[in-house]
Structures are given as C-alpha cells and as structure tokens.
Amino acid sequence: GAGVSQSPSNKVTEKGKDVELRCDPISGHTALYWYRQRLGQGLEFLIYFQGNSAPDKSGLPSDRFSAERTGESVSTLTIQRTQQEDSAVYLCASSTSGRSTDTQYFGPGTRLTVL
C-alpha cells in the first residue's frame, strides 16, 4: 500500500512569511508524528497526534509553530513568521497505534529554506 506522503517536497520562502506543510499518513494509522531535522543533526520531535486525544505538543520550539490533524487523516504543520533558523527538513511519520513498540513509518520530508 501507499506509504506516508508529504507535500511540498521543497519550499523556499522569505523570512516573515507563513508556511504550511502537509502530511498524509498511511491509511489506518491512528498515530502521527512530526519531526524536524536540521542540517547535520538528528531528528527532533515536534508534535504527536493519537486518535481523538489531545496532541502532545511538547516538542514545538515556539508559539510560531502549530499543527492540526483532521480525524485520523491528513495533518498540517504551520509555521508563522518564518525565521532563518526554521530552515530544516520536516519529517512526518505514522504508526498503527502510537505504542512505544510500534514501528514509525516516515515520509520523504519537506525541505524548508527560509531566505
């Protein structure tokens, strides 16, 4: 079946603009995660959705970052008033139920460049 998809694959924006990044999880996966990968660094957890539960936003770096998820489907990560330090690859992952033992399946990522 189809894997996790993300769009756009690349996004170049000017400092101060807002951007929206989209993630389509694997069908039937109730858990969805967003991570950020800065150049030369590992992945940093941003936010986690599980079913209809309140999301775990503990990894969001500032209030300029927000995310929504429609039911158990698409998620959108929004960055307002982008800054140059927001330049990174944003990765989305999904898993069947959000248990710690579940495999997370990653999308190809969105490369964000803030000029």
């Binding site: 996790v4 858990a31 991570y35 030369g40 992945l43 940093e44 033992t101 990653f106 190809p108």
Partner: protein, 115 residues
Amino acid sequence: AQSVTQPDIHITVSEGASLELRCNYSYGATPYLFWYVQSPGQGLQLLLKYFSGDTLVQGIKGFEAEFKRSQSSFNLRKPSVHWSDAAEYFCAVATYYNQGGKLIFGQGTELSVKP
C-alpha cells in the same frame, strides 16, 4: 532525561569490510531501541528494533545489533559492507513511560564505502 549519543559523525569503510556503528543511550530502565537508515533523497527506513528478550537482534539488509545493558549501548553491525550501504544511520530510543512512543534520536553517523 533520555538521550542518545552516536560518537562517530562519519565513518569510512572499504567494501567487503565489517562495520560497527556505536550508539549509547541514557535512561534508567530498559528502553526500546531502534536503528534507522536514511539514504540520500529517501525517508528513514527501520533496520531493526529491540524491546526485550534476546539481546542480539537481526534486521533487514544483513544488519544486526546487540543490546548491552551494562554499557548502555546498542551497536549496529554488519559483517560485510556493500557499496549500497552508504547512507546515514540513526539510533533512536523510545521509553515505556514515554506516552505515544515519540522517538529520541542520536545525531546520526554518516557511512561512506570505499570501492
């Protein structure tokens, strides 16, 4: 707080040689441990994972990893490296008490393979 350390940023091995990538974690109890591989232009792919039981786990592509509680390590090994193994490798940890299974990643080890 949980953390993961990959001491080697970059490793070069000759094709056919053996490989060992190091990973150390910090956590008070037994964590859930993962190795992911990221090939250029592709998303992360799970190589293997450890939760409990036999401390030597087998993964895809001929990789294996050994959990050593006394050393807080989960090193990845392969007896004979192929040129197609050139990629970035990430060690990650999730914990039993970490609701939602969010992963904490190391900074990654980039593997180059010499012909």
